[in-house]
């Protein structure tokens, strides 16, 4: 199990906490009416406020607050009816105001929890310290010209939720599971699309190591890591780096570090001494953010079923194993696909088709479930065709492949290709007889004790029937006739 590092001097334990920046799903920015759509031409989604023109003032976007509260409820967290926006002051060209409006001492959401389902079936509860609202910065573009930096302010002012975990994570696997779970919850809630490659979710990773049971070690913060894989790589690299230093008798310097995904290593960005003094103070342009419990209750009443609840239902009501249920609920779209396909059917059989054949086929063609050629209804219909003996499981695999290629309904494929299973025992008996007649030596050998030849006969009969003979009837007839 990851999480511990065996050094020359003994065992070390990793301690990890994550600060996740999640872009809020909303049409306009946190404090301005400018659009948040991804991929627009540079500097086309910038209001006077976002560009920090003189005399411009922020006005809170209620939708963003609602999304933060919704997320807080999804994280089973405390919702603070009064919170305060602060200014975090620093100079950078992509920060037009010269400060970021954030929440420092009084965030909108307090302590909560995220439950992790580990691959080995364990669950782990990870504490959420807080969630606060803040503005995103713009983007500095350094590669458009040899000696100039360009600034795109489209992102400037977009609403982010910073979700801070407790230092409860103990391995890179757990950190990965945490990120995936958090992303799953946000997507279920519809508060963040979780697209890490578009920058909708980024993580600052705090890593330290210690002897098991000892006090926390000095931590380093790895800034702005933008994929689950990179987060895990960064943790592994950073923890090992720290262990190497400690084992040689060195001390860890508190630092902010960068992850170089090409080299797979972290390197120092600035030391504690060089750390910014952000001079936080309450933003005098904004009143404290206040709302009442009734509004929170209203949002709570509109929350969708979340992954943990859905998993419990899949296990309890549908009889899935916790592992299968966990896999199926992780992505909202998969869970919905499954529910539709499994409605009034053998849920376990549907789950097997999805987790086995469908995931495999989608993976091979680089598709996600939303773009699956096989619809949930069609997959359900395929399971029905097996259940009512219209086709055998083996034929079903061929039908599935055809469905994957063409997107056609399974019944149509079965009819057109004449794949309907033969259950007429008279017809099958004729085939069995014919096979036995043309292989008298094999019949003799079988009867002489060579049991293994049974498979040969089954194969011959199936071949003759072009795979359509009902396997159970074939088995029964062969048993009966060969032994007779």
């Amino acid at each position: 199990m990851g999480g511990t590092i065996q050094g020359a001097t003994g065992t070390w334990e990793m301690v990890i906490g994550l600060e996740v920046h999640a872009q809020i799903t909303s049409n306009s920015k946190l404090f301005s009416g400018a659009s948040t759509a991804f991929g627009a031409e540079p500097n086309t989604q910038v209001s006077l406020v976002d560009a920090a023109m003189p005399g411009m003032l922020p006005v809170i976007n209620k939708v963003c607050v609602e999304q933060a509260v919704r997320t807080g409820l999804g994280l089973k967290a405390q919702i603070n009816l009064r919170s305060v926006f602060d200014r975090k002051n620093y100079f950078y060209p992509d920060l037009p105001q010269g400060y970021q409006i954030s929440q420092f001492l009084q965030p909108v959401v307090g302590a909560g929890t995220v439950v992790l389902d580990m691959d080995d079936g364990r669950t782990r509860e990870i504490g959420i310290t807080r969630l606060h609202l803040e503005q995103d910065a713009g983007k500095s573009v350094h590669d458009l010209g040899p000696d100039r930096t360009y600034v795109d302010l489209n992102r400037s002012g977009i609403a982010l939720m910073e979700i801070v975990s407790e230092p409860d994570l103990r391995s890179s696997e757990e950190a990965g599971a945490y990120l995936r779970k958090l992303r799953s919850i946000l997507r279920y809630l519809g508060t963040c699309d979780g697209n890490m490659e578009q920058g909708s979710m980024r993580a600052d990773v705090n890593v330290s190591v210690r002897r098991p049971g000892a006090d926390y070690g000095t931590r380093c913060e790895i800034k702005n890591v933008n994929s689950v894989r990179f987060v895990q790589q960064a943790i592994e690299y950073e923890a090992q780096r720290q262990v190497d230093i400690l084992e040689e008798g060195g001390v860890i310097a508190q630092q902010t570090r960068l992850f170089d995904s090409r080299k797979g290593e972290t390197r120092s960005m600035r030391s504690k001494e060089e750390a910014h003094d952000y001079r936080y103070f309450p933003d005098p342009d904004l009143l404290p953010l206040e709302f009442d419990q009734a509004w929170v209750d209203e949002i709570a009443s509109s929350l969708p079923e979340l992954p943990d609840d859905r998993k419990a239902r899949f296990v309890g009501a549908l009889g899935l194993s916790p592992y299968d249920a966990g896999v199926l609920v992780a992505e909202k779209e998969v869970a919905e696909f499954f529910e539709e396909a499994a409605r009034d059917r053998d849920a376990k059989a549907v789950a097997n088709w999805i987790m086995g054949d469908l995931f495999g086929a989608l993976n091979k063609s680089g598709l996600d479930i939303a773009r699956s050629p096989i619809s949930a209804a069609h997959l359900g219909a395929l399971v029905d065709l097996i259940a009512d003996d219209t086709i055998s499981g083996r034929i079903a695999k061929d039908v599935f492949d055809e469905m994957m290629k063409t997107g056609r309904p399974p019944a149509e494929i079965v009819d057109q290709r004449g794949l309907r299973q033969v259950t007429d025992s008279g017809a099958i008996e004729a085939i069995v007889d014919a096979v036995m007649e043309s292989n008298p030596d094999k019949v003799a050998e079988y009867r002489g004790g060579k049991d293994k030849l049974f498979g040969f006969f089954v194969g011959q009969v199936m071949k003759q029937s072009q795979g359509k003979a009902n396997p159970k009837i074939v088995n029964d007839l062969l048993q009966q006739k060969l032994s007779g």
Partner: protein
């Protein structure tokens, strides 16, 4: 060209425009001529004569149709802290070099909607930081007033010194100012004019270059209390674009102006009698008390025990907010940029060249008081003091309806006299700052002349959003004081 047109009050001009005995155009032209002849005062950063003529033509058309707004055809000057669409807006700073906004501040937009005619943008202390108008990048404004028999230039006060000088010198019928710690009232007192700082939240701050966001408030500067009432009505109102703007109805201030002050309780705060206040200021204050008493008001001694902490706390809060508000002037997007070296050098060179000494001083103070390790001792402590000051006023409102105090501890001083002594300069705000710290409305009106023949002001402070009572008491004092002093026009070039 009639000079008498420039000596009208807004109320009189409104009447004469209304009955078409004068036109907005001739009113505008006489003021344009006055401004051109008065450049020695350096009251304007930008003169907008063409714009004024166009505005006046529009006003005349609306007046002819009987479709006049509150300020229809009234020529006004705008402090250069207000962003005005298509017109250079500098905040008195080099760092906004060449900055022409693509937008109009809410307050000025309200005024244009009500028919006001724009004469130009008035000079001011850089970013509204100053009490003498000597910190402007565009040079000091001179006070139209001089000590009789003495040719030395005096300051008009600040930071709205250009507006105050323009009103006093009859270069406009009224002007906008902004007041963060006294920037409307102190120059009003120094120039013998009326200045009103409304309740925080009464006028939108949207489009006004920010100095200290929790204190800044726009207000009118006029020659009479009645004119201040007319102008405020046009300027004020809730604005969804300013989260600190307050959604309360704007009353018709003018309609209550002449109401009697009989039975009103006037508080006289003991703590405003500061050691070293000149006897003539104390005497003027006592005259004010007597006038209101004669008018039937009840005089009540009150105590505002935390008054002495207001100025030090102000000089923590205001610079702290300013240090952050002025971070956007970085040479990246607009205004001045001194292209030099790498990014950090560009920032340093731009801000070094763009900001004057007083602005730099306040940015440094503000940065210091917000720094890790100092925040609790300075900024947080100052915010606590602010709460105590507000509580002092709340206590007082249990007993009285308004407070009466002097506006400034002294009359206008000489240009250069205090430039090297920031603390002496800051002390000028000692009587005006508490109203900002508590967000209360406060009016300064001219009530007499000093022994050296310079105007002195009295201040009336009222309850939040009770500008009506403040104006009513101001009007009673104005009537009793019958101040009619006018500076001799030494500055006129023709």
């Amino acid at each position: 060209m009639s000079t008498s047109l420039t000596s009208l009050t807004i109320a009189d001009a409104r009447a004469q425009l209304g009955d078409r005995s004068i036109s907005a155009r001739e009113l505008a032209e006489s003021h344009i001529a006055g401004i051109e002849a008065s450049r020695a005062l350096n009251a304007f950063v930008s003169e907008t004569a063409d714009r004024a003529i166009a505005d006046a033509a529009r006003a005349d058309a609306r007046l002819a149709k009987g479709d006049a707004g509150v300020l229809e055809g009234i020529p006004v000057a705008i402090k250069d802290l207000f962003c005005t669409k298509g017109v250079l807006s500098t905040a008195g700073s080099h760092i906004l070099n060449g900055f022409v906004p693509a937008y109009e501040s809410t307050v000025t937009a309200n005024m244009w909607r009500e028919g006001a005619v724009m004469l130009g943008k008035t000079n001011m202390d850089e970013f509204a930081m100053g009490s003498s108008n000597e910190t402007s990048y565009y040079g000091p404004v001179l006070n139209p007033w001089r000590r009789p028999g003495d040719n030395r230039d005096l300051v008009p006060g600040g930071s709205s010194g250009g507006s105050a000088a323009a009103v006093a010198a009859q270069l406009c019928l009224g002007a906008t100012g902004t007041d963060t710690g006294g920037s409307i009232r102190q120059p009003a007192a120094f120039t013998g004019t009326v200045g009103l700082k409304p309740t925080y939240g009464r006028c939108s701050r949207w489009g006004i270059v920010a100095f200290a966001s929790s204190l800044d408030q726009a207000g009118p500067m006029t020659r009479t209390v009645g004119d201040a009432a007319i102008m405020l009505k046009a300027m004020a109102g809730y604005d969804a674009k300013d989260s600190t703007s307050v959604d309360v109805a704007v009353p018709d201030y003018e309609s209550v102006l002449e109401d009697s002050v009989k039975g009103l309780r006037i508080g006289i705060p003991a703590e405003y009698r500061i050691d070293g206040t000149p006897a003539e200021i104390v005497a003027l204050w006592e005259s004010g008390i007597a006038w209101l008493k004669d008018a039937g008001a009840e005089i009540v001694a009150v105590s505002l025990p935390h008054t002495k902490y207001a100025l030090p706390a102000y000089y923590i809060v205001a610079p702290a907010e300013a240090s952050s508000n002025l971070a956007r002037y970085d040479g990246v997007r607009y205004g001045l940029r001194v292209d030099q070296g790498d990014l950090t050098e560009m920032y340093e060179a731009t801000r070094a060249a763009g900001f004057g000494a007083e602005v730099k001083r306040r940015i440094l103070i503000g940065t210091y008081v917000l720094s890790a390790g100092y925040y609790d001792a300075y900024y947080l402590q100052a915010q606590k003091v602010r709460t105590l000051i507000a509580d002092d006023f709340k206590q007082a409102w249990q007993k009285v309806d308004v407070l009466l105090t002097p506006t400034t501890p002294e009359p206008a001083f000489g240009v250069g006299e205090k430039s090297d002594d920031p603390v002496a300069m800051y002390l000028n705000d000692i009587l005006t700052v508490p109203a900002n710290m508590a967000g209360l409305p406060a009016l300064s009106l001219p009530a007499g002349l000093s022994s050296q023949g310079l105007p002195l002001g009295l201040q009336v402070v009222g309850r939040a959003f009770d500008e009506e009572t403040v104006l009513r008491v101001g009007r009673a004092l104005e009537r009793a004081a019958a101040f009619d002093g006018r500076p001799a026009p030494w500055w006129r070039s023709s």
